[in-house]
């Protein structure tokens, strides 16, 4: 088990961003994303300004840029798609290094790549400075339906338990001479998966039983959380606000 998934992305540091309430940070990231997405693709300098703003945020959070770069691997599928755009899009073409590329495709690729990258970096900062638990609370405070928050929090709570159960089943299989090779292993693996599903289902029933035994009647009790101060909101919204200024300037220009 150990540290497990619950804190997989969180990077413990002492920083302003780590201290900010999760709901402020979530709101800031979403607003920043909206601002970035609504910026015209041709306002190249605006994207440079956003990148600088984000760099400032990364440094404020005392995250190493190297770590942020490493985590940007999740963006790779988008990058591949973006790189294909200039090749497959129609319209006026330009020759670059002997390749005939579509101009609108190039702009589309830039648009996709720049916006996705900025969004991904903002999300990485959010995930690195906020524990999953705080994220869930933040979403709850932002009025995400409680059932969804509840399902997500159960998932977080039991991911390790399930992983441990799966590991035990693997050990038990292998202790009886099973090696997963080729097609013939599939029935065994799928049977294991079925068993895991049944066990999880039964655990779900037992958890529900334990919840009812402690007075649960369908609604989760609301636990007290200090409401964020105006200062926290101001600090968190500084990013989307300055990005907004950039966007407005870009649109007007």
């Amino acid at each position: 088990m150990g540290a497990g998934h619950a804190h997989a992305l969180y990077v413990p540091r002492e920083s302003l961003l780590h201290r900010l309430p999760a709901q402020c940070k979530i709101a800031a990231v979403v607003l920043f994303g909206l601002v970035v997405v609504s910026t015209p693709a041709r306002s190249f300098w605006a994207f440079g300004a956003y990148a600088l703003l984000l760099l400032g945020v990364v440094l404020t959070a005392r995250l190493s840029p190297r770590l942020v770069l490493r985590r940007m691997v999740v963006e790779v599928p988008f990058v591949v798609f973006a790189l294909l755009l200039p090749l497959v899009a129609r319209g006026d073409r330009v020759d670059v290094l002997g390749l005939s590329l579509s101009q609108s495709g190039l702009l589309g690729a830039w648009n996709l790549l720049a916006k996705a990258t900025l969004g991904v970096i903002a999300s990485i900062v959010l995930a690195s400075t906020t524990t999953i638990r705080d994220l869930l609370h933040g979403l709850e405070r932002l009025r995400l339906p409680r059932q969804l928050v509840l399902i997500a929090s159960f998932m977080v709570r039991y991911a390790d338990v399930l992983a441990a159960e799966m590991a035990r089943m693997k050990v038990a299989r292998e202790s009886r001479g099973f090696t997963a090779t080729g097609l013939r292993a599939w029935p065994v693996l799928s049977a294991s998966l079925g068993a895991l599903f049944l066990r999880s289902y039964e655990r779900g029933e037992r958890v529900h039983l334990a919840m009812r035994s402690r007075g649960f009647n369908g609604t989760m009790p609301v636990l007290r959380r200090a409401a964020p101060t105006a200062g926290s909101w101001a600090a968190a919204l500084a990013l989307p606000a300055s990005a907004g200024l950039v966007a407005v300037t870009a649109v007007l220009a």
Binding site: M1, A3, G4, A6, I132, R133, L136, S153, F154, V156, R157, Y158, D160, V161, R203, R206, V207, L209, A210, M211, R212, S213, R214, G215, F216, N217, P221, V222, L223, R224
Partner: protein
Amino acid sequence: MTAALSLAGVTHRYPDGSPALHGVDLVVQTGERVALLGPNGAGKTTLVLHLNGILTPTTGTVHVDGLPVEREHLQEVRRRVGIVFQDPDDQLFMPTVREDVAFGPANLGLSPDEVDARVAEALEQVGMADAADRAPHHLSFGQRRRVAVATVLAMWPSILVLDEPSSNLDPASRRELADILVGLDLTVLMVTHDLPYALELCSRSVVLDTGRVVADGSTGALLGDADLMRAHRLELPYGFDPASVPGRLP
């Protein structure tokens, strides 16, 4: 005085018709610690689930502190009967220990200040005050079992029901839990296969087999009755002599 727990003629049939309990009569007085013994499949867990109305008797009645276990009293009954289930991973489902212990009191509609006070008190009672902000899955098994006890203590129950409290615990954790249980001023009903544990903690034992109470008396006397023990698949650990071990009162 009203008994903490009283079952009269409780029978239970599962929906598929298989009988689990055949007319169980059992009275537990306030302040008693009672062990519920019996082989696997005797109906012990079924009995436990009757105590807080998760299951309802097919016939017969269950009273908790004189309160009938019926729909209109369910919430109060579930406050009074604190069940600690066998697998702490089933009981601890919230992201942190603090939130998990707060779950019960919050369901009772207590104010946030009262909930905080209850959480602090309950964790203190099981010696886990330092772990309030940790995630349950980062605790050792013994610690999780203790937090599971705290989750029901926070509801200020009048009777604590433990399902196999010593199972999967290493000897030190097992002893630590015993120390905690002895220190609680509560009526306790403990389902267990761990007969030395029953002898140590409970002056009285009840043996359940095939859904019937087949013996009820002092734990020392029951464990010393070789015929009774053999008849109900109860066995003491090798070399263990119940006559030579003093229990911890009451």
